[in-house]
Symmetry: D2
């Protein structure tokens, strides 16, 4: 159980690029980072509008002279301070992730970056090498995967409580883009433009959450073949998609299907994960996040609740609120940020043994997400055809 | 609202082939047929074991001498009686449907048959011609589609309450065949053998329900292309499948996905239908059958309850229990049987005008189900490839 | 599992008083009685409007000359026939139950009567004696209590799977009378008038369902003290109530609370039963009728589904549809009618041994419901005070 | 929408009494206080075991020399510092609340205290006078009432969307004390002992949450009469209760019922609030915290989701995560702590105008909770009799 006791040497000096007042995502980073005293927000380039960004930063408690006009100024000025930032979070549109991440790493700063990480696997691998050379950490904010019941699913499958995995059923859909984009805000416009969003819209924006979570739960399985059928129901979004179905064949013979959409009108129970094994199934959805459904064929269905003593130790270890008390999305983000902090702390201390077994959404997790997107696009571009995953 | 008042001239004299004591399906036919005094069970060939069948028939109230050894005897003996059966229900394994149906029609008997109707479209079309020539009705027991909320969905979509249909999401899965078939009963053995089941297992057994319901709700849409990926997780069932995913492209640009499985371990909320339009979605599941979910993007989600005055007249017309009072599967079967009786009655009276607009699961509905199966198998056999639907 | 095989010697000749075209309840009786070939509807006095009643009866398949103007004519004329009715169902307003029941019994007819049975316990006891003398059966249509999962709850508690019962939580509320009664239909008007409804409105109309079900599940427990707080939110209904709360102290120390209301605006998930024991709780609601919730403290919650092999034999014995297939309210009514038919059949055969252990809602069940109502009214009239139950 | 921008002049210097490593509640205080940079934890007397408390405090980032042996030392030492604590949270067993709160106030410190506030109304009123004299704030951590949908309910009722309130149905039950207390931990032992818990167990421990929430939602209604029936199913807990039912008559004629229990075996969906009006009902439960159920009689039921634009401004103003993203219990606590900080800040600035309209769980809210408990105990002690609320 997490109770706020510090598991690292001292709080990390933390800066943000993006995440300003006009967007939603910045607060998720801050609420994730600041709860346990693990990060201290010391600087930021919060906004394309420098004055607005400074005003905002000051309201967050940052010194006015450490609210910068852009990431370049942030890196340059912080580099010259003894108490300069050590780690920077990137919460900007996709097309800027790569250049900001590279600049931070070159300046010796650890990086925490939004998903999808970059546009290409090649970029990911380059950044991975750079981080390796510099001895720095790159974390990716797959913010949902800190939930204790996600780790319960992984532990149960590992223990054999589900049997051999046969079917993987993943869904993350909502309807917030069911209408057209006339008059849409900036957050919609950059996401539906390939120049700023990269090669995908919903596959990258929400599908990578599904894929990363499935990797955590099914670390022993690999995709062999994949078929992606994508479409823009709002034509102006093409070639990007607002709806996609992906079929997957795994190396153990399992079958996967995944649905991602932002035109699923009215759907508010957005994420659903079901893993079917030869003996039982396990299912979790963020529409009833405190509950894990465990269904053994031929027995009464079971509903497990987070924080209960009958859960696996891997789940209880990352619980914050305790049974009966809802864990929200913010709690999950806090875990992700904590795990990245522990990685950074270990890196600083040179504790390779710790890093070898420590789990967090690292650069490889980000790379795998981009690799999956590349395969999806390759299949879609080939006429929604089956392709070998590579 | 249906209240038991007879809408036909007189009760139909009805016989059954199959549906004996050892299976589950026969009772569904009887409970569907006998509730409103529309059918009188006068004879049957209930069982391969003639003595057991006779004993059973007598317990059902059938005269002992009208409990026959097989369908041939039934047809022969009943033909010689003034009060002989007029309509016969076929509740036997798939491979016998065609020969029994043909024999009944040739003997001048109306036919009510289990799904999947026959093995091939060619057989369906032959039977359709025969029924046409003979002036007889063939009904198919897609037993779930009598539910009032199914017809509410159809009426709402017709009225434009959902907008242009974009996404069709269909699921009928359970886990009763998650284990292997060693020691399995007869009902499992014939379903997993191509000689007795035909070219499919779960696609025909439960997938045709999904497909027929979607046809009722979306009469204006046609499938243009289809991809079916099927698999037998229990290897002895191959080439038949215990799991399949089907992707569908419709002529209006809509995208469909369908999942059917009998190895979805532990799943008891088995059927789910979601139709997503440009403005709203509508969803129904037999795990909460009294509720229809209507989700207009940007508004509170709505839950509609069967029998309530705010529903469309098409739904209220076929309601039996009234609001607050659960409609079960038996009520849905009663509607199907009633609608078929009304068709038979109209046929006898020569009321073509009635038949022109009367809705019931007719021979064409049965044929379309088999056509869909043929397309699924053709795609699967081509390597789970996209095919043009024909 | 019930599959329509007859468990009685021959179908009973059955008549109805009330239950005509303008009400909802008549169809529930007919769908309950006629499904298994256990009852044959031979006559009726369906309506205060004799012509309308005759027209309706004929549409139900009854001979025109056996559609009577009133119950007196029915009794007189049927008595003179060799094939006259043997059993009569009473589906009329409360104030007529007693006189019709008495007349039927005196004429040698078995009786099936709506709840609440009569106005007073004294009347009930008089009818009980009359039935005893005449050797006739009186059944009461507590129509919900035929559901297989109700009997699962009873069996689990009997087996000790819940522990010692501590808390009983009962609720049956809806909002159909939230508005005032200006312009209300006949069904509302007689229910809110003490002359036609008796001493209670919702306590008798729906509360007796709760109470009878709790008696089935908790046969070993008796109420010692009771407090009833009732109110008419629509003032014209006073002294009858549209809302009541009842607290109960049982002889084993358990505590009960019961809520009944027809002004619970918008509530469509109307009935809920929760029995809390020292080890576990069991809960059932007709808003998800196929599911029984079994909650063992400290373990994952369990959801049991009707028709599954892991259930108790008492539940499986009365299942009709089988697992995955929703049992509706009509199925429950069918069980009630079947059990009453079995009692009548045994009575006719003089099979006292059978009757000694046969469970059905009998005259005593009806009497206990009225006794409970009398206690509720006595408490309410004493200022919602605690009273000893007698 | 709350996004972390500071609404007060500067972070408050904050200390804790209690809330150490062995309990659950301390973390809820810290996660509530520390997320928005509104409070800085500068000192604490975290544990009865001074060494363990110091070790824990240091792990929380507190200087070792500001981790004190007890609250007296904390007050004495902090008083002597320029940078001493300004506000202290009390997260200790009930019986210590009064003396610690008084000592803090006398030393000029603002107080944030766990519920139930004190043992008696007299104590509450004395503390209220002391705080008034000293110009200090006392806040009470009714931690659930910061949820945006609680404030949505209040706004809807205020606007008349529900009509005149008729029925109030409140429930907070769980089963964690279903077994006896042999070998129970300290947190159970002090709660079941009148010397340490005060005059109630579950009524104070969880019932006060229900009552305070109802006060927020129904500020225009007052209780006139009340009846409390309480019981200890585990006898060693007597005279304190582990189960209680409370009936309430309000001054507008509404009827309330409340159930509170810690022996409701297996129940994990613990809190439920339903407010029934003449037109509609509104319901919220922490088992699906993101959803508000709005049921207008005669219309489809509605499910409202937190963060959606159709909600009232009062709800959106206190949302943190945004639509689709679960608000957990921690988010609610953050709101409570923020509102108390704003009150303290206004007090310091002498901004009486702000305080006049600013809503937060203040000393009066704490007092009213204790007053309600006193009435409950008075009724229970009078034989579970009706009493006038005073």
């Amino acid at each position: 159980m997490i109770n706020g006791e510090r598991s690292i040497q001292r709080p990390l000096r933390w800066g943000m690029v993006g995440g300003g007042r006009t967007g939603q995502v910045g607060y998720k980073h801050r609420t994730g980072a600041q709860r346990d005293g693990t990060y201290t927000l010391v600087c930021g380039a919060f906004d394309l509008d420098a004055a607005r960004g400074r005003d905002f930063g000051v309201k967050l408690g940052v010194d006015a002279d450490r609210c910068y006009a852009d990431y370049k100024e942030l890196i340059a000025k912080e580099a010259g301070r003894k108490d300069g930032a050590e780690v920077v979070s990137i919460a900007t549109p996709n097309f800027t992730h790569y250049e900001i991440a590279r600049a931070c790493l070159e300046a010796g700063l650890h990086v925490i970056c939004e998903k999808p990480l970059f546009f290409t696997v090649a970029e990911c691998e380059e950044i991975e090498r750079l981080a390796e050379v510099k001895g720095l950490i790159v974390g990716v904010t797959y913010g949902f995967t800190g939930h204790p019941l996600v780790h319960q699913m992984a532990a149960m499958i590992k223990k054999g409580m589900v049997g051999d995995i046969r079917i993987v059923d993943l869904q993350y859909t909502h309807g917030f883009n069911a209408g057209d984009d006339v008059g849409a805000g900036e957050a919609v416009r950059w996401r539906t433009n390939p120049k700023t969003a990269g090669p995908t819209f919903v596959l990258g924006d929400i599908g990578t959450h599904l894929y990363y979570l499935s990797e955590i739960v099914l670390p022993h399985m690999k995709i062999e073949r994949l078929l992606c059928d994508r479409k823009a129901f709002i034509a102006t979004r093409a070639p990007l998609e607002d709806h996609a179905t992906v079929l997957m064949h795994y190396d153990n013979g399992a079958r996967g299907r995944l649905w991602v959409s932002s035109v699923d009108a009215g759907n508010m129970g957005s994420q659903r994960y079901r893993f079917v094994g030869s003996k039982a199934s396990v299912e979790w959805s963020d529409s009833h996040p405190d509950q894990l459904i465990y269904e053994v064929q031929g027995q009464p269905n079971q509903i497990m609740h987070h924080g209960m003593p009958y859960l696996e130790k891997e789940s209880l270890a990352v619980d914050r609120m305790g049974a009966l008390h809802t864990e929200g999305l913010g709690d999950s983000w806090s875990n992700i940020y904590l795990w990245i902090a522990q990685a950074i702390d270990a890196k600083r201390r040179g504790d390779d043994a710790f890093l070898k077994t420590h789990h967090y959404p690292d650069i490889k997790a980000g790379t795998e997400g981009v690799r999956w997107l590349e395969n999806c696009v390759r299949s879609a571009d080939a006429g929604s055809a089956w392709i070998d995953f590579k």
